[in-house]
């Protein structure tokens, strides 16, 4: 019935807030004895990648003339990685961000960039904290509760 490590309380709270969605659960399920740091690696990679992506996005939006295709490309990337991680709110922002790119709406793009940064920061701070805490628990020999999905 039970399969692998699972979602604990702290992270579950992020589910209620819509910050994370089911995809994150999937990732947690992929972590086992043979890959104990899988989740941490993926999440760290996501954080680093996204920081770079956001910088690129800012740069591309400052360019004159604005090349919406480039902007769209970056947003597409961001959307992909955030959806793989399960950062739901970030992904939602990216979806509407793309609409702005399609409509060539510069102000909309700038607003969405700010929003994307904000949502990303939320995920980063909350998820980062949670994971550090989890790591501590595991390091100290504790066990994270199981989940059934």
């Amino acid at each position: 019935m039970v399969s692998g490590r699972g979602v604990d309380e702290g992270v579950f709270f992020l589910f209620w807030q819509g910050i994370l969605d089911d995809q994150f659960t999937q990732l947690q399920m992929l972590q086992d004895e043979s890959t104990p740091d899988f989740l941490e690696e993926v999440v760290t990679l996501f954080f680093d990648d996204s920081v770079k992506l956001l910088e690129n996005l800012s740069e591309s939006l400052k360019a004159d003339p604005l090349d919406y295709k480039v902007v769209d490309g970056h947003v597409h990337q961001f959307k992909g990685s955030s959806s793989s991680i399960g950062a739901q709110r970030v992904m939602q922002v990216c979806i509407t961000f793309r609409h702005c790119c399609d409509n060539k709406d510069k102000q909309g793009c700038l607003d969405h960039l700010a929003k994307a940064k904000e949502e990303f920061n939320i995920v980063r701070s909350k998820l980062g904290k949670m994971l550090k805490l989890e790591k501590k628990i595991v390091d100290l020999g504790g066990v994270l509760p199981f989940m059934d999905c």
Partner: protein, 746 residues
């Protein structure tokens, strides 16, 4: 005596007429003198008080001796002997002594006697005064008695008219009045109207309040003497005009409330009546102070009695009103009960009568669908089936709701497997969701108990309704269902923060949240959504159908389970979040051991759990995606190679000695996208030798799907991929691929 004398006149012979007269007079004098003391003694003896006995004796002696002298002198008219002369002399001497003594004594006595007279006069005056005062006291006592009697009369009745009439009559009697009148304020409060009178005819006489006399009387707590010419001095007309003596008027406070403290009555805003008392003209009577006091006392008593009467009137009115209302309520209650009974009977009948034909229609239409039909006929049958299903839902909803409304619905409590309820819900909506290309995800918390006690059917119905709505109103994106144990720190309903579930030993609360990326809602519309027959927008019914009862029913069920349901939305087009919290009971210990098998296995039957030896090449320009996909495939036991671009992918393929079984291609890549890679691969490899091509795309629309298939992709998978999806895709692919091919590759 007969000696020579020096008289001028010649001596006169003794036996003359004069002598005779003297003789007689002396005799009478003596007689009188002797009788006077006798009379005195007689009367003194008769009277009881006589303080002057000694004087009487003296006086008696004096008189007696005088009388004796005069008597003896009788013998001196003729010749008389010496003895007579001696006796006469002795008598005269004695008389002289006594009379001198008496004279001396009288000097003492006469002032006394005179003062007696004065005292007598004084005493008479005093007696007269006392008499008068006695009369007054008696009058006062009578008056007091009258007042007591009057008060008793007034207070013995609570009828306003009797009080007033009795007052007037008794006052008239007590004070012997010409007339006595009572003036009450008119409803408009501007004037006084003559309401009750002893003798006068109340002929709608009205006097304005601003009259100086009235003002004067109202401003004083005492009875005031007023002029007989003032307009309130109305009495019966005799001889063509009012004839009254002195008039007195006093104010009678009218109280609306029962809080009276004598001497403490509020003056401001108080209403007064006026009591006017008129003395008869004929008598020269004037108003005495004690009479005024009597009048004031009576006025106070009247005020008290009137306020009691008012209170009684009011409470009688209130009681009558209440009785009427009671009767009306009773009637209404009976009507309501009759109506409910009628409704229940109707429902009971309709329940069966309506459902039976509906089922027949639906069943037969479904059967008809299975037969051979022309396209026209098929579309007609489809419509019939759709409409009947809708009607059946409508009927069920309405019947359910009616039963929920009157509280006749009871939960069907059982022990059941909690997680399977939600899995069932997901299974039920998956078909529709996949048609709409929506992702539906279920995340369940680790602390959800496996077994719970409650009404699982209604829980399922509620969850299904909510998730169904989410799916219905979402065109693209996803629907996420999150189920977990309720905790106090979880955010509460902003519109109803009082709902705060507290778990206990015997029960617990679960929180279910359904998030969608659908139409969203205007925050203003949210409160109405749980009302019957309301949908957020009138166009919703047109476009999406439905009765609008679903949420109302959900709310009733949730309430029956001691829970709460609420909706949040950031706005139109921003999706919505429906959350409900319900109470479930902890199962008894012996039930826990019953493992109720979940209704569906997480993995489909016959799916492999181990793909060891399967070589997969993942091509994706996104680093995170690569890592995640690799993790997924590793979990399934595959051998994974990563490529960051289409070019790299082709390069790796050409390099490798051992071929790959499966190629996972992200379709949206810069430079060379997945389609091109696929085309290239098709060119390079013959059909049987090439790896299986799986397209990974975030797009759910039909065009992408078709394009992928056209370029030769074997499968199209939507991102993000779950473990289960990957497992099922791989299973299907590897089985579909001919065993010959598979063996060759292995």
């Amino acid at each position: 005596m007969m000696d020579s004398c020096n008289c001028v006149e010649p001596q006169w012979p003794p036996d003359d007429l004069l002598m005779r007269y003297q003789y007689v007079s002396d005799f009478f004098i003596a007689l009188a003198y002797f009788s006077i003391p006798l009379e005195l003694i007689y009367f003194v003896k008769k009277s009881s008080i006589f303080p002057y006995r000694w004087v009487l004796v003296q006086f008696g002696a004096f008189i007696v001796l005088c009388g004796a002298t005069h008597l003896i002198s009788l013998w001196t008219f003729s010749s008389h002997s010496r003895t007579v002369a001696v006796v006469l002399t002795v008598a005269k001497v004695l008389t002289a002594v006594v009379s001198c003594a008496t004279a001396l004594m009288l000097v003492h006595i006469i002032p006394d006697l005179l003062s007696v007279k004065t005292r007598e006069l004084f005493l008479k005056k005093k007696a007269a005064e006392l008499d008068r005062e006695m009369g007054l006291i008696r009058t006062q006592e009578e008056t007091g008695r009258h007042v007591r009697m009057l008060t008793h009369e007034i207070r013995s009745t609570l009828d306003r008219d009797t009080i007033l009439n009795t007052t007037l009559i008794e006052l008239g009697k007590t004070l012997s009045l010409e007339d006595c009148t009572l003036w009450m304020p008119t409803p408009d409060g501007q004037s006084l109207e003559l309401k009750n009178a002893l003798r006068a005819d109340p002929l709608n006489v009205i006097v304005p309040l601003h009259h100086p006399t009235i003002k004067q009387v109202f401003s004083s707590t005492r009875a005031v003497v007023i002029s007989p010419n003032s307009p309130v001095c109305v009495t019966r007309i005799r001889g063509g005009k009012y004839m009254t003596g002195e008039v007195v008027a006093v104010r009678v406070p009218l109280l609306h409330l029962s809080n009276f403290h004598f001497g403490d009555w509020p003056d401001a805003g108080a209403r007064y009546a006026l009591l006017v008392l008129m003395l008869p003209l004929d008598s020269a009577r004037r108003w005495h102070v004690h009479e005024l006091e009597l009048v004031e006392v009576v006025a106070d008593q009247v005020a008290v009695a009137l306020s009691h009467a008012t209170i009684l009137e009011e409470s009688m009115q209130a009681r009558d009103l209440l009785m009427d209302q009671n009767v009306a309520l009773e009637h209404a209650r009976q009507q309501a009960e009759t109506a409910i009974r009628a409704r229940n009977d109707f429902l009971a009948v309709m329940n069966h009568e309506m459902r039976t034909p509906m089922h027949a229609i639906i069943a037969l239409s479904s059967l008809l669908q299975e037969t051979e039909l022309t396209p026209e006929q098929r579309s007609m049958v489809d419509t019939v089936l759709k409409s009947s299903n809708l009607l059946a839902t409508l009927i069920n909803d309405v019947l359910d709701l009616s039963r929920l409304e009157d509280g006749s619905l009871e939960l069907d409590i059982q022990t059941f497997n909690l997680p399977s309820v939600f899995r069932e819900v997901l299974n039920l909506v998956k078909p529709i969701a996949s048609v709409k290309r929506l992702q539906v995800n279920l995340t369940m918390g680790s602390d959800i108990p496996d077994v719970a006690v409650g009404d699982d059917k209604r829980l399922l119905q509620t969850a299904l309704n909510v998730v169904g709505n989410a799916v219905k109103f979402t065109k693209e994106g996803c629907v996420n269902v999150i189920v977990g144990l309720e905790r106090p720190e979880y955010p509460r309903d902003p519109r109803y923060p009082e709902f705060c579930p507290i778990p206990a030993d015997q029960h617990f609360y679960i929180r279910v949240q359904v998030r969608d990326t659908g139409l969203g809602l205007n925050p203003q519309d949210i409160p109405m959504l749980f009302n019957k027959f309301v949908q957020a927008d009138s166009t919703t019914t047109r476009n999406y159908g439905g009765t609008g009862l679903g949420l109302a029913i959900c709310k009733r069920f949730v309430n029956l389970m001691d829970g709460h349901i609420w909706i949040e939305s950031e706005g139109v087009g921003r999706g919505s979040i429906v959350t409900f919290v319900v109470k479930l009971n902890v199962p008894e210990v012996n039930h826990l051991s019953i493992q109720i098998a979940p209704t569906s296995q997480p993995s489909g039957s016959g799916s492999r759990t181990d793909f060891s030896g399967v070589r997969v090449l993942v091509t994706d320009d996104n680093g995170v995606n690569r890592m995640v996909t690799r993790g997924l495939l590793n979990r399934l036991g595959c051998e994974v190679t990563l490529a960051a671009s289409g070019r790299e992918c082709l390069h790796i393929i050409s390099q490798r000695s051992q071929a790959f079984h499966v190629l996972l291609l992200d379709v949206c890549m810069p430079e060379m996208d997945g389609y091109e890679v696929a085309t290239q691969i098709q060119k390079r490899f013959p059909r049987r030798e090439r790896p299986l091509l799986v397209a990974l795309t975030a797009n759910t629309d039909r065009n992408t799907h078709e394009k992928c298939l056209r370029v030769g992709m074997d499968r199209v998978v939507t991102k993000p991929i779950s473990l289960e999806k990957m497992r099922s895709v791989l299973t299907e692919l590897l089985e579909r691929g001919s065993t010959f091919d598979l063996n060759q590759r292995l």
